[in-house]
């Protein structure tokens, strides 16, 4: 599904990603861990198509197509979803109205008719249940006045609405209490199928108690320095990153 080869990216003059290699197949869950400032969020942003970052080398294939030439909205319509670490507030725009536009944009891209009002309401009801999102929130302005937990649930709600092929969740667990974490993680697990994939970016093992990854990668100074199975996350939790970082010699 996703094939990242030797990806380099910078913001301004500062190179942040220094040669990422990563392959994600349908049905898989990958966790990307690593200390602060290692480039985790940048990787998520670059894959999603945030123009703040410049790709200086490498290539990314998504569903067999070159991804990096596409603008962010087209990547979304092709099935890439980014769960934001800091979901943005949009005053005056209701969640329901926003998602209706987004869902219909995706449908148009696939050559489908827009949903009728009744179909849309039904979809919204169904999907908000997945993350136990209070249905009143959908009539409020996007993320405005939402609590930290509501914002993150709202991200997974949007993921459910758009049904992406590849979801990249950028520190969706940060700032969540244990109940919200469980709800968010359960939501993600319920959305998992054989024909989609998830990349979970996280700081803590905690989330991975609920979302069990097939692979765990450690990102450090812009490179994936170590990959393993889910037991790697447990080891990192216990022993920290030092043993890996000490092993790792920068060229």
């Amino acid at each position: 599904m996703l094939k990242v080869e030797n990806l380099h990216a910078s913001v301004g003059d500062k190179e942040i990603l220094k040669g990422i290699n990563l392959t994600v197949k349908a049905g898989e869950v990958h966790a990307i861990m690593g200390p602060n400032g290692s480039g985790k969020s940048t990787l998520a942003s670059v894959l999603a198509g945030n123009e703040k970052f410049t790709v200086t080398a490498g290539k990314v294939e998504f569903m067999g197509e070159e991804l990096l030439d596409l603008p962010i909205e087209e990547r979304s319509r092709k099935g890439i979803f980014l769960g934001f670490q800091y979901p943005v507030e949009i005053p005056g725009v209701t969640m329901a109205n926003f998602m209706k536009l987004a869902v219909n944009e995706h449908r148009k891209y696939r050559g489908e008719q827009p949903l009728t009002a009744a179909e849309y309401l039904k979809l919204m009801r169904e999907k908000s249940a997945i993350v136990e999102l209070d249905s009143k929130l959908t009539s409020r302005a996007v993320n405005e006045g939402f609590s930290g937990g509501e914002k993150k649930k709202n991200e997974i709600f949007q993921m459910a609405m758009l049904d992406p092929k590849l979801a990249i969740l950028d520190e969706t667990d940060s700032g969540l209490d244990i109940d919200a974490l469980r709800i968010v993680a359960t939501g993600v697990t319920r959305l998992k199928r054989d024909d989609n994939a998830t990349i979970v970016i996280t700081h803590y093992q905690r989330l991975l108690d609920y979302i069990v990854p097939d692979y765990v990668h450690v990102l450090y100074k812009g490179r994936i320095i170590y990959s393993g199975d889910k037991s790697l996350a447990l080891k990192l939790e216990k022993e920290g990153y030092d043993w890996l970082i000490n092993d790792y010699k920068e060229e």
């Binding site: 603008p71 962010i72 909205e73 005053p91 926003f98 949007q158």
Partner: protein, 267 residues
């Protein structure tokens, strides 16, 4: 379009020099007009501006409530003067969608008077326009609220100027004024909020901002699949939406939304 709004409200035309009783009225002033709102009346008034320069004087008698929606879709220059009497209230929504010069002068002439204006102006292409709101607190114990939002795109040029004057006797004045603006591209908006206070026991606040669109919000919307143009439009809609949603005449919310939607397409 304006006829549709009049129909929607089921309003009757109000004639010149007339005294409005409770009910729904509209005017399309072609010449200067004086209107009196009868004591204790509850009046909804729709003002649809023609491409003319006219003065409209409204006197609101004791205890009357006037709710005004003013819609400006043609290039006009209207001066609206409102005198609000004791325990009377004027709540006004002003939507300016054409390159016009609009002036509102409200005078709070007796205790318990209240004036409230929520306005929006949108200018595109090479349009130029201005909104001026002068609020005169001439008596003690009056309240005023002014909030005007401006949007300018292309090479448009807009300006807001607001003055709150508090007379020496107008103690316990409670006044707030805000001007918030978004400029897109090479457009300009100037905002000049002013306070002139001659009483010492008053509560007056004012604030003004001119900013660009929120790049993070645009990015967020595009990540969900909206085109750049749709994301920008949605953000502007959201910015203006509360002015329309809380329009002082509730039956006009929907037609105003339609009217704005046409203008948004040209942003």
């Amino acid at each position: 379009m304006t006829q549709r709004i009049i129909d929607k409200m089921a309003a009757q035309p109000l004639s010149r020099g007339c005294c409005a009783t409770s009910g729904r009225w509209y005017i399309q002033p072609e010449e200067d007009m004086d209107i009196r709102i009868e004591e204790g009346a509850d009046v909804e008034l729709l003002i649809v501006d023609k491409a003319l320069a006219v003065n409209l004087d409204i006197e609101i008698e004791r205890g009357a409530h006037l709710r005004i929606v003013e819609v400006v879709t043609e290039r006009s220059a209207m001066q609206l003067s409102v005198a609000v009497g004791a325990d009377a209230e004027c709540r006004m929504t002003q939507i300016v969608l054409s390159p016009s010069d609009m002036r509102v002068a409200a005078s709070l002439v007796a205790a318990g008077a209240r004036f409230e204006l929520n306005g929006a102006f949108i200018l595109t292409a090479e349009e130029q326009g201005s909104v001026t709101v002068d609020v005169n607190h001439l008596s003690a114990d009056c309240v005023s609220r002014t909030s005007v939002k401006g949007v300018a795109s292309g090479k448009a040029h807009g300006s807001f100027s607001g003055l709150v004057y508090v007379a020496p006797d107008a103690q316990h004045t409670d006044s707030a004024q805000s001007s918030r603006n978004i400029v897109i591209g090479d457009a300009h908006i100037e905002t000049l909020p002013q306070l002139e206070i001659y009483a010492d026991d008053v509560k007056c606040s004012h604030g003004a901002t001119v900013g660009q669109m929120d790049a993070d919000a645009i990015l967020y919307m595009r990540q969900r699949g909206l085109s750049l143009a749709d994301a920008k439009r949605l953000q502007i809609e959201g910015f203006i939406s509360d002015v329309v949603l809380h329009a002082s005449i509730e039956s006009l919310v929907e037609p105003l939304e339609e009217l704005l939607s046409v203008k948004f397409n040209s942003l």
